[in-house]
Symmetry: C2
Subunit: 337 residues, 2 copies
Amino acid sequence: MPTTRQIVLNSRPDGWVTPDNFRIAEAEVPPLDEGDVLVRHLYMSVDPYMRGLMNDGGVAYASGFQIDAPLFGRVIGVVDSSRNPDFSEGDCVYGMLDWAEWSVARGGESLRKVDPDLAPLSHYLGTLGFPGLTAYVGMMLIGKPKDGETVYVSAASGAVGQVAGQLARIAGARVIGSAGSDEKVRFFTNECGFHDGFNYRTVPSIPEALRLFCSDGIDVNFENVGGANLDAVLAHANPFARFAMCGMISQYNLKEPYHLRNVNEIVSKRLHVQGFVVRDHSHLIESFIEETAEHIRSGRMSVAEDIVNGFENAPDAFIGMLKGENLGKRVVKIADL
Amino acid sequence: MPTTRQIVLNSRPDGWVTPDNFRIAEAEVPPLDEGDVLVRHLYMSVDPYMRGLMNDGGVAYASGFQIDAPLFGRVIGVVDSSRNPDFSEGDCVYGMLDWAEWSVARGGESLRKVDPDLAPLSHYLGTLGFPGLTAYVGMMLIGKPKDGETVYVSAASGAVGQVAGQLARIAGARVIGSAGSDEKVRFFTNECGFHDGFNYRTVPSIPEALRLFCSDGIDVNFENVGGANLDAVLAHANPFARFAMCGMISQYNLKEPYHLRNVNEIVSKRLHVQGFVVRDHSHLIESFIEETAEHIRSGRMSVAEDIVNGFENAPDAFIGMLKGENLGKRVVKIADL
C-alpha cells in the first residue's frame, strides 16, 4: 500500500484560523478489508462550514475535527483498487474523505460515482455538488422566488451564491447580489446574469445600497454572510419575505458575534426565517446534478471555479477562502486523473 | 344622538408611554346613515400590539393612530340602534372601534355578533377573541407541538401566553412558562396546567433557568418577549425547533433595541423562525371560538382576566399592561350590558 500525506488538526483556532492550526503528517494507507475502496484523491473542497468543525464540539449537525487527526471533507478521486462490488478500478468517485492524497473508504461508505464525461470533475465539488445543492435547497425549497420578485444574495460570487442567484434568475425573479470586490460583482452580473449588485466594501453603507439596488424591497433573502448584512436585510425586507439562512461567514472567526438589532421586524413583517443544512437533503443530489448539468450545457448557468494547485496548499486555500480571496468555488487540486 | 367621551392621541411616546400621550375629548355621535350601526361600548381591549400603532407610521401591517384622533381597538358592545339588516337593537357585537363610550360602525364594518350565553362577554376580547386566536395560530399552525416535546412560552400568564401554553398541553407537550411574578407563575402552573415555569425576575439568569426547567431542550418557542429571552432560547433550542414569533413586549418601549447575539444558531440548528400577525388569520375566528368555548366548558382550559373599571382609566390600564402589572388578559370595563 502507498503512504500518504495528510493534513491534521494541530490546534484549535482562537478567532481567525491560522496556518499553525494545521500540520502535514505522513501515514501508511491501511490494507483493504472486504468492502473497502482505495481512493486516490484528485480534488478536495474547502468550504465555510468547515470552520465550525474546527471548534471544540463541532456544530449542532456534526461532530468536529479531532486534534492530531486528519481533517475531512468533500473529495473527488479515482478508485485505485476495490474490494467492493459497487466500485471498480478507474471509477471516478465523490466521497467525504480525509484531507489526504490517498484514503480508504471503509465499506465504500459515503462514496458515490460521478461521471467525468458530464462535466469537469471539479464541478462535482461546486455547482454540481453540495454547494450547488445547498443553493437549490435554500432558494427553491425555502426562498421559492416568484416571477418578478426581488431576490437578494450575499457572497454572490461564491460557490453557493452564484448558483442561488442563477436559480432565482431562471425562476423569473429580479436578482441582486453583493460581494467583496468589483471583480466579483462583474462576474455575477456579466457572467451569471444577476440583474445588478454591489461591492459591500465600497458602498457608503449596506442599508443605503439595498435601498438603491432593491428599490422594491426584498422578497427572498439568501443569507450567506450574517452580521450587518442580515441586519440591513431585516430592515429592508418586504412583508412575508422568506430568509433562506444558509450561513454567516462574517461571523465564523469572531470571538464575539455581531449583535443584531432588527430582529423585531420578524414579527410585524411576518418573516419566514429558516435555517437549513444541506446534509438533511442529500437524497436530492442525483436529480439535482441531472437538472443542473442541463442548465450548464444549455448555457443558462455559468460556473466560476478558483482552483488552488498542490495538496500542501490546502490550509492557505481554506484560510484565504474564509477571507474572501477566491472568485468562485475554491477547490484544491491534488493530482491529475 | 348621544355625546361620547373619546380617548385621543395627544402626543407620540418617546420610549415609554406616559399618561400625557393621551387625553379625553368629548364628541358628538353622528347620525346613522343607511347601513350604519350605533354601538354602546361595554368592554375595550388593551393589547401590546397597540404600542406599535402609537409610533409615527404605525407598523408593517397597519397604519398607526393619528394625533388628535381617537385611538381604536377591539371593543365589545351592544347595538343601540341599527340601520343595517345584519344587526338589531340589543345584539352583542365585537368590533374594531374607537376608544370611546359610543361609536358608529359605518356600514357595520368590522362588526360581528357574539353570543353572551356562550361565555362572559369580556372573554371575546381574550381567550375567545383575537388574543386566543393569536395563540392558536402561533402554537398550532407554526409551533405544531408533538406529544412529548418541550414547549416554552414567555409572558405565560398573559392574554396570549395562557392560551398558547394550554393548547400545547392539550396537544400532549410538556409546557414550561415564564412570567414576571411568582403569582403569575402560580397561575399558569396551578390553574392552567403548565408543567412548570419560573419568574424571570428572580432566577439567576434566563439561560440557567432554561437549562434547569427545559432539561431536554426546547422544541417549540412561543415568543412574546424578545430581547434576552429570545437570545437565551436560541442558545437552548433543539435542532429543528419552531419559533412562533408573536411579539416582543420587552422591546416596544426601548429607544435602542436589545442586540441579539445568538442568531448564528438559526443555521446550524435549522431553526424555523416565523413571524405572524393574527389579522392574516381572522377568517378562523368563528371555528376557533367554537372549539375553544368547548375547551373552557369541559374544564380543559382556564381563563384569567384582569378587568379595570372605568373608561377614563384606559390609558393607565394600557401603560400598566405594557409594564406587566396585569394577571391575565387586561380589559377595560366601560358599562354594564
